[in-house]
Amino acid sequence: MPPHIIGFGDTALDPGAMRRPLRVAAHLAWRILVHEKGRSALALVGVFIAILLVFIELGFFIAVPQGGMLVYDHMRFDLLLVSTDYEFQAQPWQFPRARLTDAAKVAGVAQATPIYFAGGSWQDPNGGTRLDVFLIGYDPAARPFAVEDIDRQSDRLGEADMILVDDMTRSIFGPLTVGRRVDIDDRRVTIGGTYHLGTGFLGIGVALMDEANFFRLTRRRPDSVNLGLITLAPGADKDKVAAELRQKLGNDVQLFDRAELTAHESAYWTLRTSVGLIFGSGLVVSLIVGLMVLYQTLATQIARHLPEFATLKAIGYHDASLAAVVTIEAMIIVFAAFIPAAVAAMAVYALIRSQTLLPLAFGATNLALVLAAVVIMSVGSAVLSLSALRRADPAEIF
């Protein structure tokens, strides 16, 4: 039988090629794919969507709990001191300021800064709705926020009844123009500027104030603190300082380093709320869908080429080398779909970021995790579809 009738080209049937099984398999897989461009394109689209789905679900699964870390990620501290009743950032409870004074005396601590939180009620002087705004009071000289906009404008905060507003504050708060006067808890304040950070899970609007303005407005007293930001002196050993702080400070406070804090906030949102279950189930579903689409695609391809595969078996190819062809075919489809899916995922992430204000980031972690999942899925579906191949009996096909 002349080789071109089978249509796999000369290499496949060249006896010398039998000694280079992988190259032959790769060549064969490639020929199958380009042979029917329409079908292959369809398969590619299916796999593309499956991978995109995995990207999106994984993005949510990682990003939603991280909404709770957004503000922390832009604060300067090595250790965080909070009440033992601390739940999550927006519900931290309080502890005595004296603990921070004590903490500052511990060797290796460069600075211990108090941060004050309060809920306020925002209203335009001309009336309208009273909106909940999250207020943060702090000493601008301590520079607790690692946000360029805040650093640049922090001397404005010293002026009486001046606030800086997060520019992600929702539009129902009205224009956040500099100089606009609004009432917070019935006290007239002035917007001194906006900054770009994001409201995270603090609420629908966030405003920063100097401590003195904050105490005047909220009638809070300085001796009850919500967060204590501790920065270490250069060269200080974090674990040693933390151990000493834990030992010296009372049992009404607890200490987190950044890794512990991330774990705590993520666990809060993932386990305490329904976020983890919803996006966890979404992730599992997306993996199953991906596997199904891949399997469908490959099984159909094999079924259609069964006569050719049977012929190859008849002329002496082993099941193993045919399995290699199918696996390589799966890999080619998957990688060809992976690249545009990653690009599309970046666009979708950007869209979701702007729509939902979630910190959906396209990082190396997502890329690596999805790639790993996809490789496992493609090998898995190739293995599944091999059963059809094993049935290929040269005598029965024709």
Binding site: G46, I49, L53, D85, E87, R170, R272, S286
Partner: protein, 394 residues
């Protein structure tokens, strides 16, 4: 000749041979596989749609349970779930309006009350509603409406058995600490958490007033619940009440106060787009699966379709048959998915404490999407049948 033509027309009438149906049931295994594939996509869409509705319903859970004809709130309130009360003196003004049978105050707080959980012995923020136990119930929820008389004893509370587990309200509990003071648990109701609140406590106005150190009569009111005399026109009464009150207060009907909260959630909640995206993905996946199924099916039956064409059936008939079969396959996948979804909603709803419920609206939307994806897939695949040339097939 005419007779023969009439006869053949009669023979070729689609209603005589239900081709789509026969094709569908010809191979049970294939039908099962096709149904399972489509059912999977349907379930995916239903779960995403259910989550979206569930989040929405959860955020409306308290408002939806309000029981009255008219509701008065502060005009500057932007959502139900935030404290913005008005002076209690306005209650008397409402009572004086003609047609009003009774006015019951609802007091509420979202950000001040902490409940010491018996689970971890730590304080957690809870939502507190306070009612007048002698007034008609302001909530129609079983457990509140029928047990509010028990709150006549001071320092007693009703608690939410569907609160998040870490609050310990779901376990056997007779005493707890609210705001640091010991209260007696006299009953339970099943409301469930929302985005803001993990659990809910209902108490009497007298107990509530203690925490604010004010006499109960001076407590500012969050919502006034007005009941009209039987046969009163609600819209007319709404105008009369609004006219009697200062413009700083707003009078809403039941559907208006629900819509008020729903609008806020729709505008500011970031959950909805996530689930719509998920639904869209389900639709696309479903279309792909249906296309695969229909395409394979058509390819296998191509000789038969070609034969039909050969003996004179037109493209219209064949397309119609393919579309009908696609719709039937869609329904075959939809019904088991719908049934399975009831189980999934029940299990996930209990774990996530979300009110996941199958509604007519969800059924119609998902059925529409299912039939839409099957039709779309069939239209894409049917080109093969149109192109089928009887002479070439054999």
């Amino acid at each position: 000749m005419l007779g023969a033509l009439a006869l053949s027309r009669w023979h070729l009438a689609p209603s005589r041979v239900p081709l789509a149906w026969r094709n569908l049931v010809a191979d049970r295994w294939r039908l099962l596989r096709a149904g399972a594939g489509i059912a999977f996509a349907v379930l995916l869409m239903l779960v995403q749609l259910g989550f979206e509705r569930g989040f929405f319903t959860a955020s409306l859970n308290a408002v939806a349970m309000l029981d009255g004809d008219l509701f008065v709130i502060n005009a500057s309130k932007y959502r139900f779930g935030t404290r913005n009360p008005f002076a209690p003196g306005d209650l008397e003004t409402m009572r004086a309006v003609s047609g009003v049978a009774g006015v019951a105050p609802l007091y509420a707080d979202w950000m001040d009350f902490f409940w010491t959980s018996p689970v971890d012995n730590k304080p957690h923020l809870v939502r507190v509603f306070a009612v007048d136990p002698d007034a008609p119930p302001v909530f129609s929820l079983p457990g509140i409406a029928d047990q509010q008389a028990l709150l006549k004893t001071d320092d007693t509370v009703l608690i939410d058995s569907r609160a998040r587990h870490f609050l310990g309200m779901d376990g056997p509990i007779t005493e707890a600490k609210l705001f640091g003071a010991t209260v007696k648990v006299v009953g339970k109701f099943a409301l469930g958490p929302d985005f803001m609140s993990d659990g809910t406590v209902v108490t009497s106005a007298d107990t509530f007033a203690k925490y604010f150190r004010t006499p109960p009569a001076a407590l500012p009111v969050e919502t006034a619940v007005i009941r009209l005399k039987p046969g009163e026109d609600v819209a007319a009464a709404q105008r009369r009440v609004a006219a009697a009150l200062p413009p700083s207060l707003r009078v809403l009907t039941k559907s208006e106060i629900v819509a008020f909260e729903r609008d806020f959630q729709a505008k500011l909640s970031s959950a909805a787009p996530i689930f719509w995206l998920g639904t869209m993905v389900g639709f696309i996946v479903g279309t792909l699966i249906s296309y695969q199924i229909i395409y394979t099916e058509l390819m296998d039956r191509l000789p038969q379709y070609a034969t039909l064409k050969g003996i004179g059936y037109g493209n219209g008939y064949l397309i119609g048959s393919v579309l009908r079969q696609a719709l039937l396959t869609g329904v075959a996948g939809y019904i088991p998915a719908w049934l399975l979804c009831l189980v999934v909603y029940k299990i996930v709803g209990d774990i996530a404490l979300l009110p996941l419920a199958m509604t007519l609206q969800l059924t119609l939307i998902s059925l529409g999407l299912t039939l839409g994806m099957c039709l779309l897939a069939a239209l894409l695949a049917v080109r093969r049948v149109i192109a089928a040339d009887p002479a070439e097939v054999f």
